[in-house]
């Protein structure tokens, strides 16, 4: 069998990626819009196509807890969740990263209640920003598929040993049938070596993990964890290079589109970044010097790449799909503004929040955002940030 180009729902392609990665343990709780991912994996296991243990649980808190245990004994471990499910996992997420357990999780990005919304935004992700996981945003089905494979290799690298979240927009990606290149098993096997955890739980050689830490040691553990996550970037870059050499598709923490000589840049994460490309094309045709920055690597935050990417622009317009209630801007914008604050040469940074709870932003919508952003950069705004597309 060789690489195949198939039309498949992205959720189902993720299940195939997990199968190709030969995962050992999957524990998950179904929640819209993540459901198809874990349903398909359960089916693969039940049909004997994937030799893995599927642990059904009564909540996401238990799902992540089961994943921790599995990962600690040295099993390649996968799960998926969305929205409220991610929040219910919250405290356990810290434990995965702090105990350096390389669990891989796809998150079908979904708004948070109330009011109840099953639709896409990034509120769920932003609430788990500081949990110590490596976090990567996918813009389309292929990126999702490829980065699930990369995630195992990055997470399990002996220099990393950290959990990884792959973020894909709920419905816009999870429920989309689109063409995806699925590589053959032998090639994936070469790219992704078997998982060897250096110090697994073993009844014959008992160890303690995640032990009690009094004040004289806790700070040092956190310093080590911070250094560990920051250093993971080099491994991520190396993994993406090698993935490209293997499969012909190269990824980077920050990607520019038509940024040459751009005075104005728009920055977007996730599936909307492809929609925004169309707006950039139209504006370029009209002679406007605009470009697009797609932010793919969210944690560890790619400081150098972001600074380099926006340095020569005059205006940087950032669209967040989440609110920081009562805060200075959308969460992505806050971080980027902070990363640029001490730079001598930097653009004006304008913050928009939009696309909440599944609200679409069309190419025309992005044109409006860019034009309004330019206007604010000249005249200023009375608000710290503006919400786009609010019906008033």
């Amino acid at each position: 069998m060789t690489t195949q180009r198939i039309g498949i729902e992205v959720s189902r392609a993720i299940a195939i990626a997990a199968k190709l990665a030969n995962v050992d343990v999957v524990s998950a709780y179904p929640i819209t819009p993540q459901t198809h991912i874990v349903e398909d994996i359960a089916e693969l296991v039940a049909d004997g196509e994937l030799d893995a243990a599927y642990i059904p649980v009564e909540s996401e808190h238990s799902a992540m807890s089961a994943c921790l245990g599995a990962s600690a004994v040295g099993a390649r471990t996968f799960t998926a969740t969305a929205g409220q499910g991610l929040e219910l996992m919250h405290e356990v997420l810290y434990i995965a990263s702090s105990m350096r357990l390389p669990v891989v999780m796809t998150v079908a990005n979904r708004a948070l209640s109330a009011p109840l919304s099953i639709w896409c935004d990034h509120s769920d992700v932003m609430a788990v920003r500081d949990t110590g996981w490596i976090q990567i945003f996918a813009a389309n089905g292929q990126e999702t598929f490829d980065n699930v494979l990369c995630a195992f290799r990055i997470a399990e690298d002996q220099r990393v040993l950290l959990p990884v979240m792959i973020h894909l927009d709920g419905f816009y990606l999870t429920h989309m049938v689109e063409p995806i290149y699925v590589p053959e098993q032998s090639k994936v096997d070469k790219f992704l070596p078997p998982y060897e955890y250096p110090l697994p739980l073993d009844p014959n050689k008992p160890i303690t993990m995640g032990a009690f830490a009094p004040p004289n040691i806790y700070t040092e553990t956190k310093k080590a964890q911070q250094a560990n996550l920051t250093a993971a970037k080099e491994v991520i870059l190396q993994c993406w290079r090698e993935f490209g050499n293997f499969f012909g598709r190269y990824y980077s923490p920050v990607e520019g589109y038509r940024c040459e000589k751009a005075k104005v840049l728009l920055l977007v994460m996730g599936s909307l970044s492809e929609t925004a490309m169309s707006a950039i094309d139209t504006l370029r045709d009209e002679g406007k010097e605009v470009g697009l920055i797609k932010l793919r690597l969210w944690r560890p935050f790619p400081f150098d790449e972001i600074r380099r990417a926006v340095r020569d622009a005059e205006v940087l317009i950032i669209l967040d799909r989440a609110l920081s209630f009562g805060g200075p801007a959308g969460p992505v914008c806050s971080e980027i503004r902070s990363a640029l604050y001490n730079e001598d040469k930097k653009p004006k940074v304008i913050s928009f929040v939009g696309g909440l709870g599944g609200r679409d932003i069309s190419p025309d919508g992005f044109k409006e955002i860019i034009n309004r952003g330019i206007e604010i950069s000249q005249t200023g705004s009375e608000q710290e940030f503006e919400m786009f597309g609010v019906r008033e």
Partner: protein, 193 residues
């Protein structure tokens, strides 16, 4: 002879109207898979929301023979609208946003002229009694595969043969009967400008 009233060289956008359980979403997925198997770019997706059996359902397909599809928004101005349940004509504005040179494909036992008059349809119109075909060949009034046949007759957006493989993968032992239903609907669909 396949009707070529629709230009399918660039981007073609198709909206499906059905009821939960009739297979509108499946229809959309099968057509997208066939297009992808032809080497084209395509996407299929349901109107995002909670699905209920019997309630009106919408699904979408984009096919582009030249370049990858970047937009993931719901289709507001389709080139083609396919209606699986004739009852929906009374309760849903199925032609909403349909392009002036667009095509409406309807499952109905009525004559095209009657549909035109009753619902003030001015665009190109294709009709077929898919319910009869499905009852006869599948034993159940599930018209999704028949309506795929009707769509292909009306637009030629993908080749009929390109559907065989996706249908076999989807329906397993029921595939051949569904292929027959699709072919029969393809033959019986009447297309009027």
């Amino acid at each position: 002879m396949e009707a070529k009233l629709i230009n399918t060289t660039g981007l073609t956008e198709i909206r499906w109207h059905g009821r939960g359980g009739q297979g509108a979403v499946t229809s959309a997925e099968l057509v997208a898979q066939a297009a992808i198997n032809e080497g084209k770019y395509a996407q299929a997706f349901p109107a995002f929301g909670a699905e209920r059996r019997g309630a009106p359902v919408v699904a979408f397909v984009r096919i582009n023979s030249n370049e990858p599809i970047r937009v993931r928004a719901e289709i507001a101005e389709p080139d083609v609208v396919v209606v699986l349940d004739p009852g929906l004509l009374r309760i849903v504005n199925v032609t909403l946003g349909l392009k002036a040179n667009g095509m409406l494909v309807v499952n109905t036992k009525k004559q095209a002229e009657q549909i035109r008059k009753e619902f003030s349809i001015n665009c190109s119109l294709a009709t077929v009694d898919a319910t009869k075909i499905a009852r006869e060949l599948l034993g159940v009034p599930i018209v999704n595969t028949s309506m795929v046949g009707a769509l292909l007759r009306a637009t030629g957006v993908v080749r009929l043969e390109s559907l065989f493989e996706p249908l076999r993968q989807r329906f397993g032992r029921l595939a051949e009967r569904n292929i027959s239903a699709m072919k029969k609907a393809h033959e019986e669909t009447l297309v009027k400008e």
